[in-house]
């Protein structure tokens, strides 16, 4: 009985640690962000100014919020068809096949590549390709960043969706087959509807990752602190501006960066909450 009690205590302590950690993060973000919000008020969220010159300091987060939301949503849109079809291929159509086995490990391999390597590839391989199409002068900008982001989040969405699709009970599918349904009909009327909430959850998880991605985006987005004027125009994201500027920041600027971090935290939390709502609706 005492062993049970020890286990219970250990579990309680470790869950409490997680709780304290998240509370601590929120607390220190809030504390650090207060000077910026006191100086600029609500305008900090809506303003697009970002002027670090001493004497005329003025900070607003809107350019970065826009950059983050635009690149993440764009990445998600590009990612959905790729991840959805790949997961169906792996988990349903060719399940147990050698090709699907190879594909599955390749997808997992993609998930393991560090962000900086994706950035490298985007910088040296993808960017010149975009320049040669004539769509963009230098290849930096929202579209390039979103494309690389999409490739980065595909493995997450694919792996999870495939896992969920392969969990659809065989009895359901067999029942449909016995009624004379074709393979396509089984997939669209049985597999997808019963795995729907899980698939949506996997895409929301992927979106969460896109929101916070830093390094690859920094290398490709052009780091211009403005709302992007078009798909091929440079912009900046919340995670990227923090990574770029915290090193030499102090005083009000440091507070503004922390406030951007707090907003990013809130946006990610909001996305997760929306995801939970959607899952509940469809489940």
């Amino acid at each position: 009985m005492s062993g049970d009690r020890i286990t219970k205590a250990l579990l309680f302590i470790s869950s409490l640690t997680i709780l304290l950690l998240s509370a601590g993060i929120v607390f220190s973000l809030l504390g650090g962000a207060i000077p910026a919000f006191r100086e600029f008020g609500f305008r900090f969220i809506t303003s697009t100014a970002w002027n670090p010159t001493a004497g005329s300091e003025n900070y607003g987060a809107m350019s970065f919020i826009a950059g983050t939301v635009i690149t993440s949503i764009l990445a998600l849109i590009i990612c959905i068809p790729m991840a959805f079809t790949t997961s169906l291929f792996i988990a349903e159509y060719y399940n147990g096949n050698r090709i699907s086995g190879i594909l599955r490990s390749l997808v997992d391999l993609l998930a393991g590549i560090p962000s900086i390597v994706y950035g490298f590839w985007g910088f040296y391989a993808l960017r010149p390709l975009l320049v040669s199409t004539g769509l963009s002068d230098q290849g930096f900008g929202v579209f390039t960043a979103s494309l690389v982001l999409a490739i980065m989040i595909v493995p997450y969405a694919t792996s999870l969706s495939a896992e969920i699709i392969s969990m659809v009970p065989a009895e359901l599918k067999e029942a449909a087959y016995s009624l004379g349904a074709t393979r396509r009909e089984v997939i669209f009327s049985v597999v997808i509807p019963s795995a729907r909430s899980g698939i949506i959850a996997s895409f929301i998880l992927a979106l969460g990752r896109a929101l916070g991605e830093t390094m690859a985006v920094t290398m490709l987005i052009g780091n211009a602190n403005v709302i992007p004027k078009g798909l091929f125009a440079p912009g900046n994201t919340m995670a990227s501006v923090i990574a770029n500027q915290f090193g030499e920041a102090s005083g009000l600027k440091m507070s503004a960066l922390i406030a951007v971090g707090l907003l990013l935290f809130l946006i990610t939390a909001l996305v997760n909450y929306l995801g939970k709502l959607i899952i509940k609706r469809f489940a």
Partner: protein, 354 residues
């Protein structure tokens, strides 16, 4: 999440270890360990110099290239033996320090204007052209204003892409300090700082990032530390100095910029030097340290090691190392000034150097 916790623990452990480095040397008689942090601009020089010094029997020095701002913060928090910065401390910043802080210049770095224009190997720029290009009012490489300064230049009909530092940086500070001196428009619109509100162009992270972006993008221009342009063999523009000469960026023209009057505390920006042989965008980079080294739990031993290290760094041997990695050596007046300042450093009131 799991990964980030491991990383966090590693950072905490590392910081704890490096903070202890400065003070906990009393027990170890032989090997003194010093910790320092700051600017990344002179880091290639410091890394090599400290390694050589250590091999020659000097203390082990852990230098963290965390940026000038981080270095100043570390010195204020008294967690390092000395710090390094590209921009000297303002009177306000000095007043915030818990003790008197002195500046020791260690070498001269220069910011060069690097470009990538197909077929162009020589480009001359005036302050007016720099202002126009970096503020986005001159948009094309074949702009008549550029051609007027560079007669006979064959340039493609190509848009100019300005590349700037997306991170806060001493390099940006030096460049903007120069531009603010020569261009009233710049001074009013952007001013001087480690990060600016750029009206045009794209940002890249760090000197290597800007250098890489320029070498990969046709039609681009940007400002980088000399050694990075040199290492990557990127074309560098000649810049017109205050005497009206177009000066090629060379170690000699950087040193020439520093060979003028110097205030006793060495806090001076040597951009736009009046010397006719000087390259106009050069700057000292400094080691900053407390005038009395008995702070936190620093031992006399580590105080001696600190002063000796900095003294060596401004001496002939280390200055030769500086030129080997493309930083210009201190001119005589600056090294004399450094020696005088180092003699004034004390530990509990008595001079450290005998």
């Amino acid at each position: 999440m799991k990964n980030s916790i491991i990383i966090l623990l590693a950072i905490v452990a590392f910081t704890a270890a490096s903070c202890g480095g400065g003070g906990s040397t009393a027990g170890k008689q032989k090997q003194v360990t010093l910790s320092a942090a700051g600017a990344t601009f002179p880091q290639p020089f410091y890394n090599l110099a400290f390694k050589r010094y250590n091999e020659a029997g000097g203390p082990m020095i852990n230098y963290g290239g965390i940026g000038s701002g981080g270095g100043i913060k570390s010195l204020r928090d008294q967690v390092v033996d000395f710090a390094a910065t590209d921009a000297y401390l303002s009177d306000a910043e000095l007043a915030e320090m818990p003790g008197e802080v002195i500046h020791i210049p260690t070498c001269i770095g220069a910011v060069v204007i690097a470009y990538n224009i197909p077929g162009v190997t020589e480009l001359k720029l005036t302050p007016e052209l720099l202002e126009g290009i970096f503020l986005g009012t001159i948009k094309m490489w074949n702009d008549p204003k550029i051609l007027a300064v560079n007669p006979g230049l064959v340039v493609p009909d190509m848009e100019i892409t300005v590349v700037y530092r997306s991170d806060g940086s001493g390099t940006t500070y030096i460049f903007s300090d120069y531009m603010s001196k020569v261009s009233p428009v710049w001074n009013a619109q952007l001013g001087t700082g480690k990060a600016l509100n750029w009206p045009a162009g794209i940002g890249a992270k760090g000197n290597p990032g800007v250098a890489g972006t320029i070498s990969q993008s046709q039609g681009s221009i940007g400002y980088i530390g000399f050694e990075y342009a040199f290492a990557q063999k990127i074309q560098m523009a000649k810049v017109m100095n205050s005497a009206g000469f177009y000066i090629e960026p060379t170690l000699e023209s950087f040193t020439a910029a520093a060979a003028s009057e110097m205030p006793a505390d060495t806090r001076v920006m040597i951009t736009n030097s009046p010397n006719p042989a000087a390259y106009p965008i050069s700057s000292f980079t400094w080691i900053i340290m407390y005038k009395d080294l008995a702070y936190a739990d620093h031992s006399r031993e580590s105080a001696e090691a600190t002063v000796n290290t900095v003294k060596w760094l401004t001496g002939e041997e280390a200055q030769a190392i500086a030129t080997s990695v493309h930083y210009a050596a201190l001119p005589q007046n600056a090294s004399l000034q450094a020696a005088t300042l180092l003699k004034g450093i004390t530990y509990e009131g008595t001079p450290v150097l005998k």
